[in-house]
């Protein structure tokens, strides 16, 4: 919806197609970014389970990456990552 959209077209109330959240890039809200070290990852899937934004990408039961377009940088993945694996660390945005 844009300011150009005429209110006349809105006679059925607010109804939109499903799945639009994919196009809504919440990753722009982030101040800290998770950095995943796949060498250290033991694929326990805790980060996948806890991520509130479904941003942990997995295939065949194995973590393959993080969807940074939708990750809000909450840090839950790093917090639940087992200490001995320590595969995810949070890094401030703007730092490599």
């Amino acid at each position: 919806m844009s300011t150009q959209a005429s209110w006349r077209a809105l006679d059925r109330g607010p109804v939109i197609a499903g799945g639009t959240s994919r196009a809504f890039l919440t990753g722009t809200w982030r101040t800290e970014r998770p950095v995943l070290d796949l060498e250290r990852c033991i694929h326990c899937m805790l980060c996948w389970l806890y991520c509130p934004d479904s941003s942990i990408q997995a295939r065949d039961g194995r973590v393959v990456g993080i969807d940074l377009d939708h990750c809000k940088g909450c840090g839950v993945c790093a917090a639940v990552c087992p200490p001995r694996a320590h595969a995810i660390v949070m890094v401030p945005e703007g730092q490599p």
Binding site: S2, W7, G13, P14, A17, T20
Partner: protein
């Protein structure tokens, strides 16, 4: 009388009449919580459900907030939906009222109008529905039990064509619990009139084509939805007029639309009054007329959309108006009807003096001497706001 509609005459209370109308309409879903004085609508209707004479899915919920929430969910799926409430129950629905209207869902609700706490009071006045007046719901007010029955049936077509929810108000106890003779139409005639149901299903449960109803709307679009809602309420006037004409055609009974004028020919003064006390005041007005006083009565049937044009037309040529109403805005400017009537008349070429009389709060009766005071006020046209029947005179 239309061939389609053989009528029976039955003795019914207002609540019975609403429940009977629902039975004849056979809605898909009724979700409700009982509250005095609307309880019997749901009680009676749940009996129809238990007896299997309707196919309605009845949802007994734990509060009015849930009742209207369930109605919103069902209506969003394209179901034809009804509920009933009163007073604190309507107040508890307040949050969801706006959602029902904003989502443009054609829910029909019976409101057995009752006072609001505190102090707690179960008797009739219009404070409950007046608290909902800016929610986007259309509001119709019955004068008698026949009206409550007819307006319930009419409301279904109005709601579905305007894509707006509609409240039908019947005064608590005065109408909800009083037995009157009602002309009841045949079940087939009612079902033929209301038709098969809303035609614009949101296909909410269509998994190959999922939709989101009521998403977040930020400043770039929220106001456009509200603008569309305002337009829908304004446009509903045409729809109400058209559907009332269809009602007359179908059932052979005329419904007063917007306002019902009584003895307004060459009237120099008028009483404006909604709801059940119109009958009593009509008696008084006719007596005044016989005594040579040029006083008439104008009864608004529709409160939302506000019938500004109809009121201006009905009151053209009138110099004094007494608005009698059973709610207050506590703004020092009078009740909601008086405030809005004054606003509607402000642009008129000749503006009558409007005196706002608040009466009958919490079921206080209107006595003979109160009517005499109204007669005096309409003559003297003092303007301002008066409280009738509180012992301090007007």
């Amino acid at each position: 009388m239309s061939v389609l509609a053989p009528t029976r005459r039955l003795g019914l209370t207002g609540n019975d009449a609403v429940a009977l109308a629902w039975k004849q309409i056979n809605p898909d879903v009724v979700a409700a919580y009982p509250i005095t004085p609307s309880t019997q609508v749901v009680e009676k209707f749940s009996q129809y459900v238990a007896d299997g004479v309707v196919q309605t899915q009845f949802v007994p919920v734990e509060s009015e907030h849930s009742a209207l929430s369930a109605c919103v969910g069902a209506a969003a799926c394209g179901a034809r939906v009804m509920t009933a409430t009163s007073s604190q129950g309507l107040a508890l629905m307040h949050e969801i009222l706006y959602i029902a209207a904003g989502l443009r869902l054609p829910i029909v609700m019976a409101v057995a109008n009752r006072a609001l706490s505190a102090p707690i009071n179960i008797h009739g006045d219009h404070s409950d529905a007046m608290g909902s007046r800016d929610s986007g719901w259309l509001q119709l007010y019955a004068k008698d039990v026949q009206d409550a029955y007819d307006l319930t049936i009419l409301a279904v077509r109005v709601a579905e064509r305007a894509r707006l929810p509609v409240m039908v108000g019947l005064d608590g106890f005065t109408l909800s619990h009083s037995l009157e003779v009602v002309d009841v139409y045949g079940d087939d005639a009612v079902r033929a009139f209301v038709g098969p149901g809303p035609d614009d299903h949101y296909h909410f449960l269509d998994s190959p084509e999922p939709i989101t109803i009521g998403p977040l709307a930020l400043p770039d679009s929220y106001m456009d939805f509200r603008r569309a809602l305002a337009e829908a309420v304004a446009r509903s006037a045409e729809i109400i007029a058209r559907e009332a004409a269809a009602f007359r055609e179908h059932f052979g009974r005329s419904l007063p639309v917007f306002v019902e004028p009584v003895a307004m020919e060459a009237a120099r003064a008028a009483v404006v009054l909604m709801g059940s006390y119109a009958g009593v005041v009509e008696e008084a007005v006719l007596r005044w007329r016989e005594a040579g006083r040029a006083v008439g009565l104008v009864r608004p049937v529709v409160f939302r959309p506000f019938p500004a044009e109809a009121l201006r037309a009905a009151l053209a040529g009138v110099e004094h108006v007494v608005v009698m109403e059973r709610a207050d805005t506590l703004s020092t400017l009078g009740g909601p009807l008086g405030v809005e009537l004054r606003a509607a008349l402000y642009g008129a070429v000749r503006r009558p003096v409007v005196t706002d009389v608040i009466f009958g709060l919490g079921g206080r009766e209107l006595r003979e001497e109160d009517l005499e005071q109204v007669g005096r006020l309409v003559e003297e046209a003092p303007g301002g706001v008066r409280y009738l029947g509180t012992g301090d005179g007007v």
